[in-house]
């Protein structure tokens, strides 16, 4: 059924190919003192509102029943993906509870395309034996990479930064301009007066030195 659906939508870059359909690797629990359970796992492409598969998304359905086929309600099922990270590991995907029909459903989003090795595990409950089932699905596409939504008023915000930068630059230019202009103008305006003053001071010093020399002449004679 799923393969048929995939074939229908292949031309529209379909996400799911494959063997998701292969229902169920089910196992029987045989421990003494507990009721045997069976677990079946299927991975079906998730359909959008128009009935087209959503790229990279699978719905994992785990069906938990007793040995006699009676569904087990409200039992926790954990889902895993087998990954190869320094050796094969089960990476926890999520958890769901079974409903009245014994089905626990979980939406699985595959980050990478390719073969997805999936597992469902019933950890057991008082009187019920733990159980595990696996399945695999071949995906042509993973989920689309995350794209940040455009920042609201983003253009205004970036324009604001540029405007602020221009404003700050203008203020610095004015401040430094005022300082430089003041320093330059004051120095230039005062330079002749300072020179005159320096000359006067220098003349005064010379005459003072001359006076001192005169006083220091031996015998009190006035020298010229």
């Amino acid at each position: 059924m799923n393969l048929k659906l995939l074939a229908t939508w292949a031309s529209a870059a379909l996400a799911v190919c494959a063997a998701a359909a292969s229902p169920a690797v089910a196992q029987q629990a045989t421990d003494q003192g507990t009721t045997a359970t069976t677990l079946a796992l299927s991975a079906d492409a998730r359909m959008d509102s128009r009935g087209r598969p959503v790229p990279g998304q699978l719905v994992l359905n785990a069906t938990l029943t007793q040995a006699d086929g009676k569904p087990l309600n409200n039992r926790v099922i954990n889902f895993y993906q087998q990954v190869d990270l320094l050796g094969p590991h089960d990476a926890f995907v999520g958890t769901a509870n079974t409903d009245a029909t014994g089905v626990a459903a979980l939406l699985y989003e595959a980050p990478q395309p390719g073969l997805q090795q999936l597992k469902a595990r019933f950890p057991g409950a008082p009187g019920y034996a733990p159980q595990e089932a696996g399945t695999s699905a071949q995906l042509k596409e993973g989920i689309p990479p995350f794209q940040a939504e455009p920042i609201p008023l983003g253009k205004v915000a970036s324009g604001l930064s540029v405007g602020a930068l221009l404003l700050v630059s203008a203020v610095w230019l004015v401040l430094l301009g005022v300082l430089v202009r003041t320093v330059t103008a004051l120095r230039a305006a005062g330079a002749p007066a300072r020179e005159r003053r320096a000359r006067a001071r220098s003349t005064e010093n010379i005459s003072q030195r001359g006076g001192a020399e005169t006083i220091s002449q031996p015998g009190g004679e006035v020298s010229t």
């Binding site: 915000a157 930064s161 602020a164 930068l165 700050v168 203020v171 610095w172 004015v174 401040l175 430094l176 005022v178 300082l179 202009r181 003041t182 320093v183 103008a185 004051l186 120095r187 230039a188 305006a189 005062g190 330079a191 007066a193 300072r194 003053r197 001071r201």
Partner: protein, 451 residues
């Protein structure tokens, strides 16, 4: 006829240069005490640098605390100082002349102390370089850095330009003595020779800077408020935050100007020049800002409290009736109502009453900044992660050290430069003389201003 409020230029010069005379034991004892507090703050900072911010009371549950409150408080005080001076200059308020120098110097030194807290808050202070090397321009913190640096440049220019004629006076006085001090004055005096052209240039430049510094201070403190407001945290995410911060800065700034002016008035016996008039006018300004700040506080609490968004409730509860309530109501009483009464009531509107009111305002506003920072940080959106911030001896020592640095720097600065604007006071006195003689002031300007 000379009005008594404008004494002779020789008397003004003598009074303004009093701090430059050899200081007595009391001066050096006070300087040594302040230096010791600064040094203790330095030691605490080094300890924090090696031990981590945990020793200052910071944790995952209280990642902003006293340092951020100090940053806002100290920089706010600086804005207040600069704005007072700029506004009084532009409005040609004659009574401003004896106090502008003090408020401009206070603006620079409190800004420097406030800027320190941006670095002190960083566990890895060398990372401040990354603000310059790889800025993220959408971050308000980057713009905060840019704004504060711009404001620092403006305040330094605003302090320096009106000082030039007074520095020239010192240059002439120290010419015979020579030495390093004379060289410093000569370099900074820029050939000032009291010429009409120089007066004209200086007037124009000071006016331009005074005009720029007002919007600049408003913008800069608004940017500082946005570092809080745009985080989306309950208690901070408020549209009123920018004007709220600006008014707070002015309020605490005017109060600090009152304290500084009163302290120097008392220490250097400047009563003849800085009278009750100056302090009372500053007190009135503080009173108006007090009312405005209380109004803003009420408005913010009313809107938040009426809407009662779920995430705001714990912050409001903790501040109004919970853990931080005693501090909040202490601020309302001590930082708002009592200063208001002290300035309002004629009996307490003397110098001591105004100074006490100003001290209460400065302390109350520092507490308020702490109340802005801490309750919000302690109540993050994830309820289970609530925490608190408790100041430790390390953070308190650093805070006191920075606070002590401001008067210390002022004392040392005025050992080098006149404490009052001699040139401006002479100019204003001359204007008053001309007014008294009913001569148009423009006639003086055409002839060149008096020496």
């Amino acid at each position: 006829m000379l009005k008594p409020e404008f004494p002779s230029s020789d008397a003004v010069t003598a009074a303004a240069l009093r701090p430059l005379a050899p200081s007595g034991r009391r001066f050096w004892a006070l300087a040594a005490a302040l230096a010791a507090v600064v040094a203790a703050g330095g030691v605490a900072y080094v300890y924090q640098l090696f031990s981590g911010l945990g020793v200052a009371g910071y944790s995952d549950h209280g990642f902003w605390g006293i340092y951020e409150a100090n940053l806002v408080a100290f920089i706010g005080v600086s804005y207040g100082g600069a704005l007072v001076s700029a506004i009084l200059r532009l409005t040609q308020a004659r009574w401003r002349a004896p106090i502008t120098r003090l408020s401009e110097a206070m603006a620079v030194f409190s800004l420097l102390a406030g800027m320190l807290f941006a670095v002190i808050h960083l566990g890895r202070p060398e990372r401040i370089w990354r603000l310059v090397a790889s800025p993220q321009i959408s971050s308000p913190l980057v713009w905060d850095f840019v704004a504060v640096m711009t404001y620092l440049l403006a305040t330094v220019i605003f302090l320096y330009l009106p000082l030039i004629p007074d520095i020239a006076l010192l240059r002439d006085r120290f010419e015979r003595a020579g030495g390093l001090r004379f060289k410093l004055y000569r370099a900074l005096a820029l050939n000032w020779a009291d010429l009409p052209r120089q007066h004209q240039v200086l007037h124009a430049s000071v006016s331009v800077i005074a005009v720029i510094i007002i919007p600049l201070a408003v913008i800069v403190h608004s940017v500082l408020s946005w570092a809080f407001a745009v985080t989306g945290r309950p208690g901070w995410d408020s549209t009123i935050f920018a004007p709220y911060f600006v008014v707070a800065a002015l309020y605490s700034g005017v109060a600090t100007v009152i304290i500084v002016v009163a302290a120097f008035r008392w220490a250097y016996r400047l009563h003849d020049y800085i009278g009750l008039k100056q302090l009372r006018y500053l007190g009135y300004l503080m009173l108006a800002l007090d009312l405005l700040y209380l109004y803003f506080t009420f408005t913010e609490l009313l809107t938040e409290g009426y809407v009662m968004n779920a995430e705001v409730v714990p912050v409001l509860e903790s501040m109004l009736v919970g853990q931080y309530a005693p501090y909040f109501w202490l601020f309302i009483l001590g930082g708002g109502i009592v200063p208001l009464l002290l300035v309002c009531l004629p009996k307490t509107r003397g110098v001591p009453g105004i100074v006490v009111a100003a001290i209460l305002v400065v302390a109350g506003m520092w507490l308020k900044r702490l109340l802005i920072v801490v309750p919000t940080v302690a109540h993050p959106l994830i309820a289970g992660a609530w925490g608190s911030f408790q100041p430790t001896w390390v953070s308190m020592s650093i805070t006191l050290g920075a606070a002590a640095a401001i008067p210390l720097l002022l004392m040392l600065f005025f050992k080098l430069f006149p404490v009052m604007a001699i040139y401006e006071m002479g100019e204003i006195a001359e204007e008053a003389r001309q007014d008294a003689l009913r001569l148009p002031v423009t006639a003086i300007n055409q002839e060149g201003l008096p020496s």
